[in-house]
């Protein structure tokens, strides 16, 4: 038995109107990968923010012991100085700076007060090697995909001689290969004696890498499972998280498929700034009545770009092609027109494209369909409150009430607000871009159920997802996209993860 590196005792934290943590105790052994799981809004991020000094000493109750000493962190720099590093749910890199500059931000190697570029680049190279990222330290962050950005975050953390690394949903926006790489890295670090705390909604990966799992529910610890001692099964973790058994991950689907109602023909899109780069090439797709269609592909395959360009030319330039609804061509030249014509797109980037963070839940839910809550010239406040309350219950959005500002919701609950907004807009065609990113298993099931219901009402649904099991579990038909092209199409009964990946790899080689 190795020693305990961290102990948090009887931690409570209250926000106006919510008790986010209620007497939580939590202890971590040195050298372990300790997983922290729980529903959206259970208090995972809050607990880690207490630990890392984001919420300073005095703003919570309870004790923190790190390496045998009681600690009173007053900010992040304070906790970093003793070797605690946190990688937040939302990445915090500066996009227009290079990898090296980001790694050493606030911590620059100096000689006579001047930044020593040479040393910075040299050291960055070492760290990049450790995390297995083959990029020049001078590359700008904007030019990196999310998976690589995540690795830069980790390089930044280890540059500070970290002893305890906290990762808040690091794999939420990564595809499988990148996730795997990251988890392998954690295991590798562990061999060198580093301790890490991993928050994730992906139970499989938790099961794979975690030594100990602590489950939080409603701000309280439910159980701590130890790999050596307890029998760990997915079912058990889920039961602890949700408070009931969840036998199926996907609701049963009975699809009644009719005629084609939504069609995209010969769709071409160019990059908004590099106007010679074609991002979507001759894309054709159809969705039939009552059908859920998935678009699978790797990160950067052009799926989001395709969806956003269809959604009122919100992305791209020199767009050509046709969009047809019920056999008639519709005008999608602006988002306003696209929405009026019955198209909705729930974005994957909830913070910057999905929500007005400084406003409350109800305002965000009704924003895309204000016409529907109008009473004469005014906003009907009863109608609005009823609508927002309906979705709050339906998607179990956890908030103190619907007047809570979106910025104060947990990540997963913010995602639910984005989805509510588009459900309330009552579209004909609903494009969902990574709708379950960062959402707990229970709520995922809820969202799949809603997708089924919308489909059975005759709506056309397009699901973009990087989680292949999700695509396979929810869709009727799957398009496979790679490098801006549709490279394959298969009904779900013929599809499997291997087949989809094979299709992608095959086309990769042909083109590459």
């Amino acid at each position: 038995m190795s020693e305990v590196i961290l102990e948090m005792r009887n931690i409570s934290k209250t926000f106006p109107g919510v008790k986010a943590l209620d007497d939580v105790s939590f202890s971590v052994r040195r050298g372990d990968i300790h997983a922290l799981v729980g529903e959206n809004g259970a208090g995972k991020s809050t607990l880690m923010k207490v630990l890392s000094g984001v919420y300073p000493f005095g703003s919570y109750e309870g004790q923190i012991l790190f390496m045998g000493e009681e600690r009173h962190f007053k900010d992040i720099a304070d906790s970093e100085s003793v070797g605690i590093a946190i990688i937040h749910q939302e990445l915090t890199l500066v996009p227009m700076l290079s990898i090296a500059e980001n790694i050493f931000l606030g911590n620059e190697p100096r000689k006579n007060g001047i930044v020593n570029w040479h040393e910075e680049v040299q050291k960055s190279k070492e760290f990049l090697k450790i995390v297995g990222l083959r990029e020049s330290p001078q590359t700008l962050i904007t030019d990196l995909g999310l998976g690589k950005q995540q690795l830069v975050e980790i390089a930044k953390a280890i540059s500070k001689e970290v002893k305890l690394l906290i990762l808040d949903e690091p794999t939420a926006s990564l595809n499988e290969t990148d996730s795997e790489k990251l988890l392998d890295l954690l295991v590798e670090f562990k061999k060198h004696g580093m301790t890490s705390i991993l928050i994730s909604h992906k139970i499989q990966e938790i099961k794979k890498v975690a030594d100990v799992i602590t489950i939080l529910r409603d701000g309280a610890t439910i159980e701590t499972l130890d790999k050596g001692r307890d029998e760990i099964t997915e079912a058990r973790i889920i039961r602890d998280m949700v408070g009931r058994d969840l036998t199926h991950r996907f609701p049963p689907r009975e699809s009644i498929i009719g005629d084609s109602i939504f069609e995209v023909r010969n769709w071409n899109v160019f990059h908004p700034t590099h106007s010679d780069r074609k991002v979507c090439k001759e894309v054709n797709l159809t969705v039939k009545k009552g059908e859920v269609v998935g678009i699978a592909g790797l990160m950067g395959a052009g799926r989001t770009e395709l969806a956003m360009s269809i959604f009122g030319h919100a992305y791209g330039k020199h767009i050509t092609g046709q969009v047809l609804l019920h056999g008639r061509e519709i005008d999608v030249s602006s988002v306003e027109k696209a929405v009026k014509n019955g198209i909705a797109y729930a974005t994957e980037d909830r913070k910057s494209l999905g929500l007005v963070l400084i406003q409350d839940v109800k305002t965000n839910v009704t924003l895309a369909n204000l016409e529907n809550i109008k009473e004469g010239m005014f906003i009907g406040s009863h109608k609005e409150l009823n609508a927002a309350t309906y979705y709050k219950n339906k998607l179990s959005i956890r908030c103190s009430n619907i007047m809570q500002k979106a910025v104060n919701l947990s990540g997963g609950n913010q995602q639910k607000v984005v989805i509510s907004k588009w459900l309330f807009a009552d579209p004909e065609v609903l494009i969902l871009d990574e709708p379950t990113r960062g959402i707990d298993v229970g709520a995922k099931f809820e969202i799949y159920t809603i997708i089924n219901k919308l489909a059975s009402e005759g709506k056309a649904i397009i699901l973009i997802s990087s989680e292949l099991p999700e695509i396979l579990g929810v869709c009727d038909r799957i398009y496979i996209m790679n490098e801006g092209k549709i490279v394959g199409e298969m009904p779900v009964k013929d599809a499997s993860q291997e087949k989809i990946m094979e299709r992608i790899m095959l086309t990769q080689e042909v083109m590459g």
């Binding site: 988002v335 306003e336 494209l353 007005v356 400084i358 924003l367 906003i379 406040s381 007047m403 907004k421």
Partner: protein
Amino acid sequence: MNTFKSIIKNNIRQYGMLIALVFIMIFFWISTDGILMRPVNITNLLLQNSYIIIMAIGMLLIIVTGVVDLSVGSVCGFIGGLAAVLMVRHHFNVYVTMLICLAIGAAVGAWNGFWVAYQKIPAFIVTLAGMLIFRGLVLWLLNGESVGPFPEEFQRIASGFIPDVFHYPGFHLTSIVIGVILSIIIVFLDYRSRRNNQKYEFEVLPLPFFIFKNLIVVSAIMGLCYVMASYKGLPNVLILMGVLAVIYTIITNKTVLGRRIYAMGGNEKATKLSGINTDRLSFFCFVNMGVLSALAGMVFAARLNSATPKAGNSFEMDVIAANYIGGASTTGGVGTVVGALVGAFIMGVLNNGMSIMGINIDWQQVIKGMVLLMAVFFDVVQKNKSGK
């Protein structure tokens, strides 16, 4: 005890500036030996600040969308000049002139809005250019000289008082009646919204606080009306300001248009991706600003009874400052009409009080600058506290 503290904490941002205004008024009341609160002076104070307040209301919408309009002072002067040229030189009918001026104001706003909303030129640049352009146009219009006086009908909008229907000697009873009606409406609306909130189980002010707050509001209104009634009654511009304040409060709080403007200021991309035409909203806000600047320009010219080439110089600074003092956010999405009014009054009372005390114009500027800085600092501190 705990609740008392949290009530204060939750509401301090909303009422902080109002309390500051009250303290400033009490301070000057004492230090000017009561001159500040004399009916003549209060009337003057309102008249002197009417044009700033009218423009501050328009500027609120612009600031909520996340930008500023620097051209309003010049536009104000330009329209005043236009009114003078039309009425004094060309003998246009007063009402026709007013309509023309409002229309030209709208056109000026549309000009600014066109560049900002549809050509994506930063508002700071567009309106800085507008500031120069319209100042130049006034100079050209008036040939660099003052033009006046105006017909009496026109002067009345700025310096007239509402007629008294009761003819009670020495006391303007109509003003009191208007005050009473207004008080009843305000208390009723506040009560209704409290009841609604309770029905949905939202937090409301505890009853004693609610009564206390309404008592203060009613006594402020009645006090003002009483003071005015013992002079010449309520000035026309006060009625104009009141009507504008009510209309724009309703627009910002209760209408779809207002909702969209605030959403746009909070996150323009997300609002656009919710199917809202944000370009059109921004354009609208500038047109609206143009119309209100025109109105303010006419009120100002009528008050001076002549149009001068320098009219409206640096008004934009007071107008913008009033909004920030009143709690509007520089990044957009936050701000209220009432806040803008309070901010404008704070500036107005400071000007007026310091002038009576005989403080030099140089120190007046310094003090006003400090007040602006402190008000925004106060806001920032509050925000940081509530974020933790």
